[in-house]
Assembly symmetry: C2
Homo-oligomer: 111 residues x 2
């Protein structure tokens, strides 16, 4: 069975949406805190341009990580857990096989 | 006579270098102050990404404005005066014709 074949029940979709939104908030809040800290500490032109590089990389990373298509969501959740953006407990309510797949992907790719 | 034909005496080169470096410092200091203020004030993801756009535009603008080739320097100084980065008084020591050309360019293109 591929991810694309998986069925998501209405209650699973709700759990998934909440988990996804919570992880996005964590990622954005962390980026915001890092931005403020880096901008505050910047003392040289080079450190100033580093802030631009940091923001560009974060924007790209967030764009790549967050993809709310049900066919992608297992891998997306695994990636978010690996990045520390998603608390696994927020996935309670998904079917056991989905959670095991997320866990397996999160563990595999983390090595 | 084109700019490329102009001769710069050793003492003019010294004046030009000092004026150029002072203007670059003004431009970088202003960008740094704006960065710190925008980052401090940012409250939404959109305002956070605006900081990236601001820095990218400033970096490009500064790259384009600052060009220390003697064949370009008259126009460069005119542009820096228009942008408020260069104090005209720092050009005292350049020949009268050079200063008049800078002044003419700064006035023309500013309209």
């Amino acid at each position: 069975m591929t991810f694309a074949d998986q069925k998501w029940s209405p209650s699973e979709k709700k759990v998934a949406r909440n988990a996804y939104d919570a992880a996005l908030k964590v990622a954005l809040d962390k980026t915001m805190a890092d931005l403020k800290s880096k901008a505050h500490a910047a003392a040289t032109p080079s450190e100033m341009w580093d802030v631009e590089d940091f923001l560009r990389q974060q924007r790209r990373k967030i764009d790549q990580l967050f993809d709310y298509r049900y066919s992608q969501l297992i891998e997306v959740f695994a990636g978010l857990i690996r990045q520390g953006y998603l608390d696994e407990n927020l996935l309670v309510g998904l079917s056991e096989d989905k959670r095991q797949m997320v866990w397996k992907y999160a563990s595999w790719n983390g090595r």
